[in-house]
Each structure stands twice: as structure tokens, then as C-alpha cells.
Amino acid sequence: MNLNPIENLALALLGGAVLLGLYRLLRGPSAVDRLVAADTLSVVITGAIVVVAWLFASALYLDVALVYGVLAFVGTVAMARALEGGRS
């Protein structure tokens, strides 16, 4: 697959962002760190799906990114409420 420099740059930036998020996910001393890392990763990966849709030259994959961006919020919020603890 021949890519022009801009596409290469976008892919490199996304790869770097994923690696940074992965570092925090694996290292993060507390559960909150891991949770925030997972949320950040979901944002980065939504962007990655959009870039992949551009590379495949197909608009079909944009729906996946839409669903992902909308639903990552629900999971993060549910886990955040879990971290608040049970009945106070």
C-alpha cells in the first residue's frame, strides 16, 4: 500500500498515541489511572478507525467510528460510578 507523507504522519502519530496510552494502562499505579488510560485509548482508536476508513476509501467504516465514539462514554461512566463505591 503506497501512502503519501501526510497519511504516514497520521499513522505514526496514532501509533505513538496508542503506545503512550498502553504504557499508562500497564503501568498506572491506581485503578483510576487505568480507567482514564482506557478512555483515552478509546478516543485515539476512534480516530484510528476514521483514518483506516480513509485508507480503504470507503465510507462504510465511519459508522463503526460513530458507534464507538458514542458508546465509549457509557462504559466509562458506568465504571466511574462503580469506583464511587456502593451505597454510601
Binding site: 458507534v67 458508546l71 462514554f73 457509557v74 460510578r81 451505597r87
Partner: protein, 228 residues
């Protein structure tokens, strides 16, 4: 003794997977069934998305079975957790940010969910994905304000109605001297919203049923009393 059994199980699984992968063709032509579906799916069912034509066209009977599995899971969850103690206090409400964004997100998520369901035969998506989104949409307000709760009666009615209509459409096709769940109402023009006969209707019912079931499941889990 138990460790030996575990090791035996893991070894057997590894052997099975190794054999499976060694025999699998990767990156070659589709299998016999896939070839047939790719060649004739669009003409026979009139849907642009061939995965949809497999799920609610060729394998609609299996989809009915899958819906009943999901229904059984939701039913068993309700039975296992038991009825909610009416006197038990509910969780406190969430903060301002979550409450405000819940009000904003509910209509947005519902629109996205029904878009995904209704365009299931044209673009990726369909009843299962859209049903999950609808369930998430209905669940966010409960997450934000647990004190308000949700009416289970409406969910139960919606779910039963969708299931009954699914079977009724199948029976109508059966009496139209076809097979059970065979698509009716003509094919339409490929790629339009009104195409594929009854397949989009079936997928809409699947979406409503899955959404109602998963919402009930989440509400039941959220209502379960905390364990000391």
C-alpha cells in the same frame, strides 16, 4: 490431581487449535456457502449488506433461536437476582455533569440507535448493534438518577410484542406457500431504504427486542441490592 487435569485440558485445547489453524485457509477464496451467498445473495434477498441477508434472510430461523437464548438469559438473571426489596434505599444521584449529559445524550443515542437499525440492510449495522445502542441510551438516565427507576411493564410489553410479530411475519410467509420466515413483499430496488421486502421489518423487530431485553437486564443488575 486437579493440576494434572488442568494441564491435560490446556494441552488438549492447544492441540485442537493447532490442528485447526494448520488446516485453515487464510486469504484464499471463500468457502462453498460464502461463494453462493456472494453470487446470489443480492438477487435473492434484495439487501445490499450481505451479512444482513445471511442473518435475517438465510439464517432467520437461527436468529429466532438466538433471540430466545437472549430472552432466557434475561429471564434467568431476573430469577437469580430475585425481586427488589421495595423498602431498600436506592443509590444517590450522580453529579451535575452526568445528569446534564444524560439528558443531552438520551435523544442523540436513540436517534443513532434507530438509524443503525433501520439502515441495517444498506450499511453496516442492524438490529443487534442498534439494540445495544438503544439499551445504552435508556440506561444512561438510570445511571445518572437511580432514584427514579424505570417501568418494567413497558419493556416487557415491547419485548413480547416484537417477538410475537417476528413469529407472525414468519407464519405469514409460511401460509404464502413459502417457507417459514421467507422474505415477502417483493425485493424493491437495491440500495434504497424501502428494499429487501420484510427483511428490514424483521431487523427492526430484532432491534426492539434486543434493546428491551438488554435494558431490562441492565436495570435488574443495577437494582440488585448491595452486598455487605
Amino acid at each position: 490431581m486437579r493440576k494434572a487435569a488442568s494441564l491435560l485440558f490446556a494441552g488438549g485445547l492447544a492441540f485442537l487449535l493447532a490442528v485447526l489453524v494448520a488446516k485453515l485457509p487464510f486469504g484464499e477464496t471463500p468457502m462453498v456457502l460464502g461463494k453462493q451467498v456472494l453470487a446470489q445473495g443480492a438477487e435473492q434477498t434484495g439487501t445490499a449488506n450481505l451479512v444482513t441477508s445471511v442473518v435475517v434472510g438465510y439464517r432467520a430461523y437461527d436468529t429466532l433461536g438466538e433471540l430466545s437464548i437472549l430472552f432466557t438469559a434475561a429471564l434467568a438473571l431476573g430469577l437469580v437476582l430475585g425481586k427488589r426489596n421495595a423498602a431498600a434505599p436506592r443509590d444517590p444521584d450522580a453529579g451535575l455533569v452526568l445528569r446534564a449529559s444524560a439528558d443531552l445524550l438520551l435523544p442523540l443515542l436513540l436517534v443513532v440507535g434507530f438509524y443503525i437499525i433501520l439502515h441495517g440492510h444498506l450499511t453496516p449495522g442492524g438490529g443487534f448493534q442498534g439494540g445495544v445502542i438503544v439499551a445504552a441510551a435508556l440506561f444512561i438516565p438510570i445511571l445518572a438518577r437511580p432514584s427514579r427507576g424505570l417501568d418494567h411493564g413497558v419493556l416487557v410489553w415491547l419485548e413480547s410484542l416484537a417477538g410475537a410479530l417476528f413469529i407472525l411475519i414468519g407464519l405469514a410467509a409460511l401460509f404464502q406457500d413459502g417457507a417459514f420466515l421467507e422474505p415477502l413483499l417483493g425485493k424493491g430496488e437495491l440500495g434504497r431504504l424501502l428494499s429487501g421486502g420484510t427483511l428490514p421489518l424483521l431487523y427492526l423487530l430484532v432491534g426492539v427486542k434486543v434493546g428491551a431485553e438488554l435494558t431490562g437486564l441492565l436495570v435488574n443488575l443495577a437494582d440488585a441490592e448491595a452486598v455487605e
